[in-house]
Structure formats: C-alpha cells, structure tokens
Assembly symmetry: C2
Homo-oligomer: 255 residues x 2
C-alpha cells in the first residue's frame, strides 16, 4: 500500500538515474540531495561497487527511503525503458545534435511532460568521466548547468541538487517574500501617539530651537517613524524607550 | 594589481560569510561551491580550528583563490561592517520580525543593491547549530531555501551553492534553450528530395497498394519527415539509408 503510493508519487517526478556511479558515499549524497527537494525515484545503472553499498547510508543523512527504494539496472537502456522524455546531465559541450537546456528550462519541460501523464528522468554520469556519448544518445535533451566558465567543478550531488531544486521550486508555494510583520504594521493612531510623545519630550528640552526649524525637523522625524514599518509591539517598545530617556539617570534605581 | 581587480569584482557580488564554521573540509566545499558560480569574497568569523586549515584545500578541488583571499574576523559585527544589506541564511523559522525571502528573491534584491553601488553579503551559521538569534539580528533579511517539509537536511556547502547559483543565474546569459541544430535545419528542397526518393522506392515495391491509400500514407510520411527537425547532414544520412535498404542484401559485399 505504502509502496503503491510511493510508486504513484514517483511517476509525477523525474527519475534520478546514476549511471555507473563509483563511490557509495556519492550515491548517499545524491539521495540526500534528492529528498531535500522531494524526489524519491533513484535508479542505479551498474554501480561500480555493487548494491547495496554500506558507504551510502551514512552519507544520505537520513534519506534512507531513497536508498531502500533505489532500483538497479544493468544498462542505461533498461533504466530508461519506461520513460518518455530523458535528459542527459553533462558539463561539457558534446557537439551532438540535441537541444541543450538549463536546469530551470528542464524543470518547466518536466512539469509539462508529467502534466501530460508521461514520465521523465535525468541521467547523471560517473564521478570522474561523466556520461559517454553512447549514454547521451539515449537522451532527448542535454541538461547543462551554466557555471563560471573559468571554474566549472560541480560534483555529482551538486548537479543533482541544483536540478532537484529547480524541479521543486516550480511546484512549491512558498512566497518569494514574506514581510517582517505578518500580523501587519502599527496603526496610524499608534504611530501618531509615538510621534507626539517624542515631540512633546523634545519640546520640553528645547530640541527644535526655532519654530522654523521645528516644522522641518518634525517632518523629518515623522517620515522616519512612518517609513520604518514598525509593528504595534515595536511602537509600544519605543514609547517605553522615550519615557525612559526622558527621566534623569538617577531615577533608574527607583524603578 | 590583480588583487585590486579582485577587490573591485568582489564589491559587485555578495560576500559569503561563514560564521564559526567547524570543519575545514566544509570551508573548502563552500569555496568550491562559490567559485562554480563566480563568487570569491569569502569571510570567516572565528573558524573553530583556526585559519588557515589544512583540510580546506583538498575539499576546495581547485578553488584555491577563494581560500587564499578569505578574510578572517573575530565577530560577525566586524565581518559585516562594510556591507549595506545583509542576509541571514536559516533553515528554521526564527519568529523574528524580519522579512523572509527565497534564494531567488534574494538574488534579485542583491543585484538591485549592487546596482545602486551598495554592498551585500550572506551569513551562514555553523554546521550543527546554525546562526544564533543574536547573529540573525544583525541581518536585514532572512534567507530560507524552501525544502521538502518532510526532510530538510541542507548542509553548509549546499546552502551556499543554491544561493550562489541563483545570484549567478540572474546575470548569466546562457540561453534557457539551445536548439538541436544551431546551424539550422534542412531546407525544404532537401527535405522534398528525401521524401521523393523514399516515395519512389516504396512505389517500386507496391508499398502504397491503392491510389487512395497512397495519398493518405504520403501525407503521413511527409508530415513525419517534415516535423522531425532534421539537419541537412541528417537528411543526407537518411538518403544513404534509403538507398542502402533499396538494394538486395547480397549487394553488400560488392560495396
């Protein structure tokens, strides 16, 4: 039952296909990268050191469900057999007649493929050498992360995490910007109370010097308070601060 | 001279500020993550095991320039002193009156800050515990990567790479989609040549059976060839394939 649900969820996300991965540790790191962004369909093609690999678990940092459900295949052909649209993740230009897309474009395409009820997956090559050209031929589209042209050194888990992140981002509902005070800022009444309180105490001390200067300085202070976006609680705190500053220091011990 | 140029480049990108980092290896991985996306201004606040740290170099996989130019500070206050807009990277909700943004929104804001000639940076906390609330207070804005709510386990270098990736992405000119054949597809003339060649050979063999069927099937084949987006070279290859198939197998040895 739980397995059935997992399978049905997996058809709605790209399979992450590690082709001839070398180190178990990197398989674990890739699993962790995947699960951070909700991906669980890991496929391993001819892992160098066999499977399961005891080095994978510790590196997965708790993403055990991904490793436990990983499927092993002998060939890339078998690993992609049930998929409709396959990407090949490469770092260098292959001079192959295939479209090349960024992870962001791939994420959009993959959501569109899945939206049509089809399935998709991404091939990642071995740590050192990457995918062979014969692996790449099996893909529809090449996926390349645009990196610093002077230093392109993405490892396997990093390539996986950037791709998974982009896929997750498109479906994620987190607002790009959440304001400081989700409960809203102070009312005009509360702000005016603070302004008048402050102005009153400053007036008593001759801060404004002349009526002319008073008008200008009052606007400066009112703009400053107005624009700060204070919450009700913050206005309350500032009223206490003004009150405290208006007392002579020796009062402190009496509080 | 080279150092002067580096400093001037650095003011156009966010400083990556690792606060009380524990393992040298993670400092190296963060440096590698940064340089992949062109960031070089690393700042270390009170690294636990001192600085330089021999474990950092190997983990940086060649991003030595970042480590060599890293600046060490005793406090977060000193590390952010020259910056105008500071982000605090956190994974959990801090219930603090600060805006919370995604890495993508932060990237846009940072480019805007830099565009105004101001400077920016991002605080990343120690591996285990993350930033303290007193660290976070020094920031303008909280930066949180939206992850799988059931499994949020981003490590330091992963948080750095996602943030650096988003900053780089905004300024990077790589097209989201590059077509299969940058040189363009075959001309209509070349496609028509292939169609007629194929139809001629099929006609000789009675493939179309009736005139009625011929019209339908011809449209099917012509659409199929038309829509495939073949290059000139691919059309040439396919002409050779049709020619070869049209020969009896015994001819093969004569070639």
């Amino acid at each position: 039952m739980a397995e059935g649900r997992l399978m049905s969820e997996q058809s709605k996300q790209p399979a992450i296909i590690l082709v001839r991965p070398q180190l178990g540790e990197n398989i674990g790191k890739a699993a962790r990268a995947m699960l951070n962004f909700g991906l669980t369909d890991m496929r391993l093609v001819a892992p160098r050191d066999g499977w399961p690999n005891p080095a994978a678990g510790p590196a997965a940092s708790g993403a055990d469900i991904v490793l436990e459900n990983a499927r092993v295949f002998d060939t890339v052909e078998e690993a992609v057999a049930d998929l409709s649209h396959v990407y090949a993740s490469t770092v260098r230009d292959r001079d192959m007649p295939k479209p090349v897309v960024t992870p962001r474009e791939a994420a959009q395409q993959m959501h569109a493929v899945i939206g049509k009820g089809q399935t998709t997956g991404i091939l990642f090559g071995p740590e050192r050498s990457g995918l062979t050209n014969d692996d790449v031929v099996l893909a529809d589209t090449i996926l390349t992360v645009p990196v610093n042209p002077g230093f392109g050194s993405l490892n396997l888990a990093q390539a996986v995490i950037l791709t998974a992140y982009e896929f997750h981002h498109l479906a994620d509902g987190t607002p790009a910007y959440q304001p400081s005070h989700p409960e809203g800022t102070a009312s005009k009444d509360e702000l005016l109370g603070l302004m008048e309180h402050l102005e009153g105490e400053l007036d008593k001390r001759g801060f404004f010097r002349s009526e002319d200067r008073r008008a200008t300085m009052r606007r400066t202070l009112r703009n400053l308070i107005q624009n700060a976006g204070f919450s009700r609680q913050e206005v309350f705190t500032l009223r206490g601060v003004v009150k405290s500053l208006a007392r002579p220091p020796r009062d402190r011990q009496d509080d």
